[in-house]
């Protein structure tokens, strides 16, 4: 018996060690980035475009491009994703279950398609076939496809967590099915749909590879605001500066600064999504 207890202690100790080292590695990486990045951040860095052949200045055009890209992506993806989620959670009873199964398989499968393949689709479909050229519009449409599986899954979970009795009460009062969904189910599921929206925004901000093939530019003097034009984004700016600028060693501070801005943006949104979700999960259960 004693030996068994010792074995257990050793094994559990090992598991704990694995977890601790993972946490330590991640925290030290984040620490390394912020320690090098925070000193770079200033109002000028945020508000000025790159200057001096990309060797100085700020990252305003990349920030503006990323924000525009995020908003456009969500504008396309949220109605489609929430629509699909409503269908899958509320309207499946009169539909062939095999069709539902195929749709679900497609959604699961899309979640596992590499982002670079979405980039190829974006290039083939939006840039060349639909002649939207290399533009923020092509990139946002591509990212809206890419974020769709996450948005559907998160919204569907939110819709399903609305108690059955809410729907029955509304139907019993004479509301139609759609009225019930619009006036009862959707408002109750709103925090969950907001979570889906935040997750979509954060995915769009962090993606890089598909942007390289749909319209991200190495350098633009200023953000055009035109959705049919090329753009700069934070993620691609990091990549270009770290690998393709004339002197990557010299511009390291800019790279650390850009990464810090991107991480602040993405991690704040992810944290908000996690908090929001745990809040409404607790409330509804």
């Amino acid at each position: 018996m004693n030996r068994k207890v010792i074995t257990e202690k050793i094994v559990f100790g090992l598991f704990r060690l694995c977890m601790i080292s993972l946490v330590a590695i991640v925290l030290s990486l984040l620490g390394h980035i912020t320690m090098n990045g925070l000193p770079v951040l200033s109002l000028d860095f945020i508000l000025k475009p790159p200057e001096g052949g990309m060797m100085g200045g700020g990252i305003s055009s990349a920030i503006a491009g990323t924000i525009m890209l995020m908003l456009l992506t969500v504008v396309f993806a949220i109605p489609l994703g929430v629509g699909a989620a409503i269908f899958l959670s509320e309207y499946t009873e009169n539909v062939d279950p095999r069709l539902i199964r195929v749709i679900r398989m497609a959604i699961n499968n899309l979640a596992g398609v590499p982002s670079i393949v979405y980039g190829l689709l974006g290039l083939g479909l939006f840039v060349l076939f639909l002649r939207l050229r290399f533009s923020i519009l092509s990139a946002a449409l591509t990212l809206s496809f890419l974020t769709l599986p996450v948005i559907i899954a998160t919204s569907e979970e939110a819709l399903r967590s609305v108690p059955r009795s809410y729907r029955e009460a509304s139907l019993a009062l004479g509301a139609t099915k759609w009225e019930t969904i619009r006036n009862v189910v959707l408002p109750t599921a709103f925090p969950g749909i907001l979570t889906a929206c935040i997750l979509g925004l954060s995915r769009a901000a962090g993606e890089t590879a598909p942007l390289l093939m749909t319209g991200a530019a190495y350098y633009l003097p200023r953000f055009s605001g035109n959705i049919f034009r090329q753009f700069m984004a934070l993620s691609t700016h990091i990549f270009f500066m770290a690998t393709q600028s004339p002197n990557p060693e010299l511009t390291r501070p800019i790279q650390y600064g850009t990464i810090t801005v991107l991480l602040l943006l993405v991690l704040t949104m992810n944290m908000a999504a996690i908090l929001l979700r745990s809040h409404y999960r607790r409330k509804l259960s």
Partner: protein, 289 residues
């Protein structure tokens, strides 16, 4: 109870649900449409087994994808070998060993790791990890397969941990209680009851982790140095299927053989991940995202 006016609404909801199927179909169609012309000039066998990837050569361009296939293989398999034991250990720790408060602190952290953009991991591999490895192994190539595999293993850990943990916690309580009641220790219960019961879920976690690893682009691209050579040496520079597309698509002439070759690589990549997704979907339907 339905009014006639609700039909357009239902139709549009149905169409948005169908859209996922259409997207999956259009990915396949566009990869075939743009990739197929490649095989009119280069036979499939040369693509799969050809050892030379020299698309930019003026006189004699060659499109052998073998170096890219072995590149992906060596990076992904090393990453998997590192991440699977570590990930399953962390999952067991979270599900069975850690107390509730620690668990509530660690789970969001795992999600945070999953949310870090891949270009950030790539940057870390490029400027930090490669230097550490160089100091340890005195590498000839600062950017090499091991560098890519290590950063990749960190990136797929969240997938493996959270799906394995779900599988472990969803094992019926009765199984556990019965085993403990028979006098087994907690570790014996985990080893002989819980893990066998959760093994298909853990298998899915591993497969999805591999799927992510195969498709990962930016981190690997920035970490491995990108020389298209056939090698199984972890300290040599390699190029993966994903990286070659990201690097070379920017400089190809649209409609050229090189352009079609990159779509052929994309098609190969898509087929690999598609197979992984289908198999994992069949093991546990709807277990994902």
């Amino acid at each position: 109870m339905k009014r006639r006016s609700e039909h357009p609404i239902e139709l549009s909801l149905f169409l948005s649900a169908i859209l996922s199927l259409l997207i999956l179909g259009s990915i396949f169609i566009f990869l075939i449409k743009e990739g197929a012309p490649f095989f009119a000039q280069t036979p499939l066998s040369e693509f799969i087994f050809g050892r030379g990837w020299y698309p930019a050569s003026f006189n004699n361009p060659r499109y052998g994808a073998l170096p890219l296939i072995t590149g992906s293989l060596i990076v992904v398999s090393t990453a998997t070998l590192i991440a699977v034991p570590l990930g399953v250990a962390c999952a067991i720790y979270l599900a069975e060993v850690a107390d509730k408060r620690v668990n509530e602190l660690l789970k969001p952290l795992i999600e945070i790791i999953a949310g870090i953009p891949s270009v950030v991991f790539g940057f870390i591999a490029l400027v930090l990890l490669s230097n550490i490895l160089h100091n340890i192994f005195h590498t000839t190539y600062r950017l090499n397969a091991l560098n890519g595999a290590l950063i990749l293993s960190l990136m797929i850990l969240p997938t493996i941990i959270s799906i394995s943990e779900d599988a472990i916690t969803s094992v019926l309580r009765e199984y556990k209680d019965a085993s403990l009641a028979l006098g087994a220790t907690k570790w014996e219960t985990i080893r002989f009851v819980i893990l066998p019961a959760a093994k298909s879920g853990i298998a899915v976690a591993i497969m999805l982790g591999i799927g992510r690893a195969v498709g990962e682009t930016m981190a690997v691209l920035m970490a491995t140095g990108n020389s298209a050579v056939v090698t199984l040496d972890l300290l040599s520079s390699v190029e993966t299927l994903t990286a070659v597309i990201a690097i070379e698509m920017g400089e190809v002439v649209f409609g050229s053989q090189h352009y079609h070759a990159l779509f052929a690589v994309g098609l190969l990549l898509f087929l690999i991940t598609f197979a992984i997704n289908i198999v994992s979907d069949l093991v546990i339907p709807g277990k994902k995202v």
